[in-house]
Chain length 324, copies 2
């Protein structure tokens, strides 16, 4: 078998790249000479891509168009908005090129991150960690009374995918009432599924609304003033999907008037939010800078996920995390 | 049956007291005229206690000595240091007076609280919530690299009781390696149990050390410089038992030199810590003011727990949360 050529624009330290090179040996690793500014930005087109049998990373569409020999594309993120168009799907399907992503690399970390938000909210951690109050004082009583048990509460999840499946496993240990919204229920989700047209009544009953929607034309601006007003007074809103799926001015207004108890956001639009953005100045809005998917040794985990799929590709086994 | 007299020094709003009164009707509720300063402080002795068949609250030992007719004592806290002496046990056993506590009221809340600590640590929430960094910056990479998955990590629990049992249920959903230290293993714990003489080697292997020890002569100062140095470099220490079980100067030193990654404390000695205490000024020490057991409607939950046990008492059923 002629050695395959794997083109990657993934940014990694030399040790990780060396590891990848030896892990795919005797197949060949090709790297661009010019690098992208970040894992979430476009890499410049590289003529080298024309030689690639496999692409690993965040290739631009124009770069993929140049890759005449490509037989498989593995995206190095969980989000794949750039590739989530009918045109691109049709083109890849027409060329017989499977596309996979890295959602499994990030699903547990993202689920743990949103769960840390939910528990921090339940235990009023931001206020409790800042308090130096004495037992028995009014401030102390207010903190204890402001605390909640997750046990027995209800959660509504938008976007039932790999992250949600991890999250549900955790929530089950807390005896929570779990409902997920999914356009096309499959029946194997293990939780109560409602369709988007039932969202309003589901929103009215949830203590916690978890948004894991990807960015696409249908989800953009989905959480707006109308949806926030449908939520139960005192509910909390979590976003670990994409910032564009919530109308941030509407969210700020709902938090300001106290209809929602709190928002916990790992994603915003833009990232980071400007310093003068209203959401930055609300005490009940808590923001982490798109770190939900992070974990120690993340690059190595990402590359190892690719290598596993690479072996599947060589064996002709079904690829993991296939999106097209 | 002659109506029983239930003496209580529990501090509650009038509505809750009225609820309790009607819940135990036709039995009678007696309340002291002078109240304690807090739920954790001693109520002054009250001559009324001499009439009590049942005591609910935090009675002083001298008050109990006055209670010649008492047939059952229900403590309104989970901790019971004051009553945890061989002399008191012998006296109550001799008089045939069962003593119960309220641990079930607090176990889930305490377990959720320490779990919120563990997840906040894993997701570096204090730093991530404070950061306004952009994707791809060194600060962002450091936050993502500093994040951990709880999944697959190890936890060592000191003090295997009701809180630990709740916690273990949660940890299991994260596929963690769980070990608990218990003086007298019963074999029904559902996790690996080691005895205190095996603590040193267990400490050397745990990513998370959870201290739920009560305060007693054996536990006082248990976590000292020697124990902290036995812990794995980079481990985190959690205390939701009693502040007296850790030597705080030793903990501060271990945090300062970076042997321990962090401490998360809901209890300290004293409470609150003085403003100039070293633990207050370490960025890797996170303190909540003894709010772990708190929950909305806590007093009502506490009284309902007593009422359930009251019905058991009337029926002659075994009492729940019996400690003597």
């Amino acid at each position: 078998m002629t050695p395959l050529k794997v083109f990657t624009d993934v940014q990694a330290d030399q040790e990780s790249i060396d590891w990848l090179r030896s892990a795919i040996h005797p197949h060949e690793l090709l790297q661009p000479t010019v690098k992208a500014a970040s894992v979430l930005s476009l890499a410049p087109d590289d003529p080298l891509v024309a030689e690639a049998d496999i692409i690993l990373g965040q290739p631009s569409l124009s770069s993929i168009a140049l890759a005449e020999k490509v037989r498989w594309i593995h995206i190095s993120s969980a989000g794949f908005t750039r590739y989530d168009t009918p045109e691109f799907r049709a083109e890849m399907q027409g060329r017989g090129v499977p596309v996979t992503n890295s959602s499994h690399v990030y699903d547990q970390a993202c689920a743990e991150h949103v769960f840390s938000f939910m528990l921090a909210q339940a235990r009023v951690l931001p206020a409790a960690l800042a308090s130096h109050c004495a037992n028995g004082t009014p401030e102390w009583t207010a903190l204890r009374e402001g605390s909640r048990l997750l046990q027995g509460q209800s959660v509504l999840i938008f976007g039932y995918g790999a992250i949600a499946a991890c999250l549900v496993k955790m929530l089950n240990a807390f005896d929570m009432h779990i409902v997920a919204v999914r356009r096309e229920p499959r029946g194997d989700e293990g939780v109560e599924i409602v369709t988007p047209d039932q969202a309003a009544s589901a929103l009215a009953q949830a203590d916690h609304v978890v948004n894991i929607l990807p960015d696409n034309p249908a989800s953009r601006g989905y959480f707006d003033a109308a949806r926030f007003s449908q939520m139960k007074p005192g509910a909390s809103f979590y976003n670990i999907g994409r910032g564009t799926t919530a109308v941030q001015e509407d969210l700020a207004e709902s938090l300001k008037v106290g209809h929602l108890a709190s928002a916990w956001l790992d994603v915003t639009d833009p990232e980071p939010l400007p310093e003068d953005h209203p959401l930055r100045h609300l005490p009940n809005c808590h923001i982490t800078p798109h770190t939900a998917g992070g974990q120690s040794g993340e690059t190595r985990v990402l590359l190892a996920h690719f290598v596993k799929n690479f072996h599947r590709f060589l064996e002709g086994s079904p690829l993991v995390n296939r999106i097209i």
